[in-house]
């Protein structure tokens, strides 16, 4: 079945000029469980995302592909046994972030069924490797933009669990003062651009943030701005016009953005293969002149490798990358979804590939952490999430006076003049100059 052939591919293409994905590395198929240094296709290999081979814009298509080279980019190929994909510190950070995501979402489900949160709530269980793998490779100034499945993206980016939980409870201490809700998480401080209900809507917004970086550097001549943007969205979104429009413009203008597709194979009840004429989403990057990569989204280290490379590429000014992460959501589309259409065989297939369990195994087997370390982290996260719930519970509802606030940034109109007063209060300003 097509789904399993997607699962067996770790990288999009091995050929520099044609990205058919035809020549697949068999070692990649063992990426399923067991992050073994030897068996993972990524181990000992550097993924090099290269741009076209010297063809100018005047020539037809530039072949931008991801080429997984047999030898790393560095001069002397190191021995496989020497390669550390991750240090102990980094490993624990990644583990903690994934556990936070999982634990938080589980708590959301409990709270929803206790009517503490309401409306539409979309949980991220199963997809943690994508958020952690990508967001933890960013700098603080980088931007992310998401869809309604945004709680974990917010947490990975650094929005405190208390603020996210409060927002979900609709309290005044939420990250959006209770006005946004589950689907509309924003944080100026943490560069989280939302939280959008319409899929596809976040992609142009993210592309605009990337445009901001380019504009700041090239027009405003501010070279201190080097923010990269990540756009997260799903498989269903990739059939939407806005996706294609933005791929085109991002490649055209070489915007510093990475488009991250969280392909969990389902758009509510619509199977990806029923909705899409060419189901390999990574292939669509090439149509617009950017590398298209496919990665196993249940393997946080693989995601991280691809993420680092794509982010570095964007930061260098080489333009966008399209990354398709094959992943799965363990729960329904939302807490209101009966989830009747997904077959148990498929669910079980992905349940054994739980990214957290797999990474835990990796850390233990490679001596990067002990059971005690990991238990301590789990306990710490439990406490953080419990504290977040208590904080949210104890927080006040927004006051009535807040109802009409935040509609405009400048409610009176005309802005504020150099003397610090509202311009609309200056009669000379509001009268205008035209003589009638």
């Amino acid at each position: 079945m097509a789904a399993s052939s997607l699962a067996s591919r770790a990288v999009a293409s091995l050929s520099p000029s044609i990205s058919t994905g035809a020549s697949r590395d068999d070692a990649g198929s063992s990426s399923v469980v067991g992050f073994h240094k030897r068996s993972s296709a990524f181990t000992g290999r550097r993924v090099r995302i290269s741009s076209g081979h010297g063809s100018s814009a005047a020539h037809g298509r530039r072949s931008c592909v991801v080429a997984a080279t047999a030898a790393p980019v560095k001069e002397s190929p190191p021995k496989i046994a020497d390669i550390e994909l991750v240090t102990r510190e980094e490993g624990l950070e990644l583990y903690e972030d994934m556990i936070l995501g999982r634990c938080f979402e589980d708590m959301c489900a409990q709270m929803y069924y206790r009517s503490k949160m309401f409306g539409f709530v979309h949980l991220y269980n199963g997809q943690e490797a994508v958020s952690t793998g990508f967001v933890k490779a960013l700098k603080k100034d980088d931007y992310i933009c998401s869809t309604y499945r945004d709680h974990v993206h917010a947490l990975s980016k650094g929005v405190p669990a208390r603020q996210v939980m409060s927002e979900l409870f609709g309290k005044a201490t939420g990250c959006c003062r209770g006005q946004g809700g589950s689907m509309h998480m924003f944080s100026k401080e943490h560069r989280l651009l939302g939280g959008f209900a319409f899929i596809g809507e976040g992609i142009p917004v993210a592309t605009g943030a990337a445009f901001n970086t380019k504009y700041s550097r090239e027009v405003l001549k501010d070279l201190s701005v080097d923010a990269v943007t990540l756009a997260f969205f799903g498989d269903g979104t990739c059939n939407n016009g806005q996706f294609f429009e933005c791929l085109n413009m991002a490649a055209l203008w070489k915007l510093p953005i990475v488009y991250v597709v969280e392909n969990n194979l389902w758009a509510i009840g619509m199977d990806h293969f029923r909705a899409t004429s060419v189901p390999e989403i990574w292939k669509k990057g090439e149509a617009f002149g950017m590398p298209g990569v496919h990665v196993d989204g249940m393997d946080v280290l693989k995601v991280r490798e691809v993420a680092k490379e794509a982010i570095a590429r964007a930061r260098r000014g080489d333009g966008p990358t399209l990354v398709e992460c094959e992943t799965y959501r363990y729960r329904g589309h939302s807490l209101a979804d009966p989830d009747e259409l997904r077959k148990p065989e498929q669910k079980n297939k992905y349940a054994v590939r739980d990214p957290i369990a797999a990474f835990k195994k990796y850390l233990l087997e490679n001596g990067l952490a002990s059971e005690a370390d990991l238990k301590a982290i789990e306990k710490k996260i439990d406490e953080i999430v419990e504290d977040a719930v208590e904080f949210a519970d104890a927080s006040p509802l927004p006051p009535r006076s807040q109802l009409l606030e935040n509609v405009f940034a400048d409610p009176r109109g005309f802005g504020i003049g150099p003397d610090g007063k509202y311009r609309c209060e200056d009669p000379a300003f509001t009268a205008g100059t035209a003589e009638v």
């Binding site: 409306g119 609709g170 209770g178 269903g236 619509m270 927004p398």
Partner: protein, 347 residues
């Protein structure tokens, strides 16, 4: 003051078998029209295998097959345009939007390809299409899922816009919309889908339709006219019950149709009661109530004994917090207060 014996259709409790939910009313209407006319087909997200995001199209895929009940990818602009194009050639699509908020991605086709084409083509190409889906606020779904689009679509010539309230409205108006040769925007309400309404055997008849462009007087009265549509009709009826306790007999008009707006019924009612309270859930500026007020002001000014009262949703994007959301939408108390003000009875 004796409140008197009040009879309203919502209070009357008939036996169980003559009740019908709005959801079943819509489902049966689509089912019957698809059975009667092979040119009718359904298109939208999750309408088939998922049985409908709100289960309105439940069972239709099983009955009519995937060629007539089409699950689309998430691409409103694309599939709406395809529907309009199919209608140009005489097919009769029913395009479902999961909510009308998502129709904003397709509004170009609703207005420019569907509404304007009969005019632009000089009467050559009619567009017998129905755009339907939930409209307005639900419960706690946030700013991007709660907008009411009645005013926007209602301002566009070339479109017919209907807003059913009861199961009878839903059945009759949807059948009429499907049979109508012009584009119809059919604005449902998610919170009404599960509500039961009494229906007569006439309503259950496969040929039952209601005229588009005619309002219904849900409750007769003599002291003040309250106009409303969709979910607000229920609120207005409850407000009328409250007002009756204070001796104010309110006449409640269920607009049913935003375009064409039944100005005659509204004005005839105000000529009887001399006072008007117009209610809607959507935003105030340029809302449906603004049009109702303008119409009454133009045609029935001399009869008015009090300024017209207008109740609408708050002029803000819909907040998520439950208490703020409640404040942002008209409540029964608001309608009662406005009616009393119109009757010069407020404390």
């Amino acid at each position: 003051m004796f409140p008197g014996i009040v009879r309203s259709s919502s209070r009357h409790l008939p036996c169980r078998r003559s009740l019908m939910t709005v959801r079943d009313a819509l489902n049966s209407a689509i089912d019957e029209e698809m059975a009667a006319d092979p040119k009718v087909f359904v298109m939208g997200e999750e309408v088939g295998e998922y049985q409908g995001a709100y289960k309105v199209t439940k069972g239709l895929l099983q009955k009519y097959g995937p060629d007539r009940v089409l699950d689309t990818p998430i691409t409103e602009a694309g599939f709406t345009g395809i529907g309009v194009g199919a209608a140009f050639q005489g097919l009769k699509p029913i395009v479902e939007f999961m909510t009308f908020n998502f129709a904003m991605q397709a509004i170009d086709h609703i207005i420019n390809s569907a509404a304007k084409t009969y005019y632009m083509s000089g009467g050559q190409i009619a567009v017998p299409i129905v755009f339907r889906g939930p409209n307005g606020a639900a419960a706690g779904v946030g700013a991007q899922h709660s907008q009411c689009f009645a005013a926007w679509y209602g301002s566009c010539p070339g479109l017919k816009v209907v807003t059913p309230y009861s199961a009878e409205d839903a059945r009759g108006l949807l059948k009429a919309a499907i049979r109508d040769p012009d584009p119809v925007v059919f604005l449902e309400n998610e919170l009404l889908y599960g509500e039961n309404f009494p229906v007569s055997s006439q309503v259950r008849d496969p040929n039952f339709t209601l005229p588009i462009g005619k309002a219904k007087v849900e409750r007769e009265g003599t002291d003040v006219t309250i106009t409303a549509f969709s979910k607000m009709v229920g609120f207005a009826l409850k407000a009328a019950d409250e007002l009756a306790k204070d001796g104010i007999k309110a006449e409640v008009i269920n607009l049913r149709s935003i375009r064409p707006l039944d100005r005659e019924t509204i004005n005839a009612s105000v000529r009887k009661t001399y006072r008007l309270v117009a209610v809607e859930e959507g935003w105030p500026q340029h809302g449906v109530c603004a049009e109702v007020c303008a119409s009454v002001q133009e045609e029935t000014f001399d009869y008015l004994d009090a300024p017209i009262e207008r109740i609408s949703g708050a002029d803000i994007p819909m907040p998520y917090a439950a208490n703020l959301e409640r404040l942002a939408l008209p409540q029964i108390e608001d309608i009662v207060r406005a009616a009393k003000r119109a009757c010069y009875r407020s404390k």
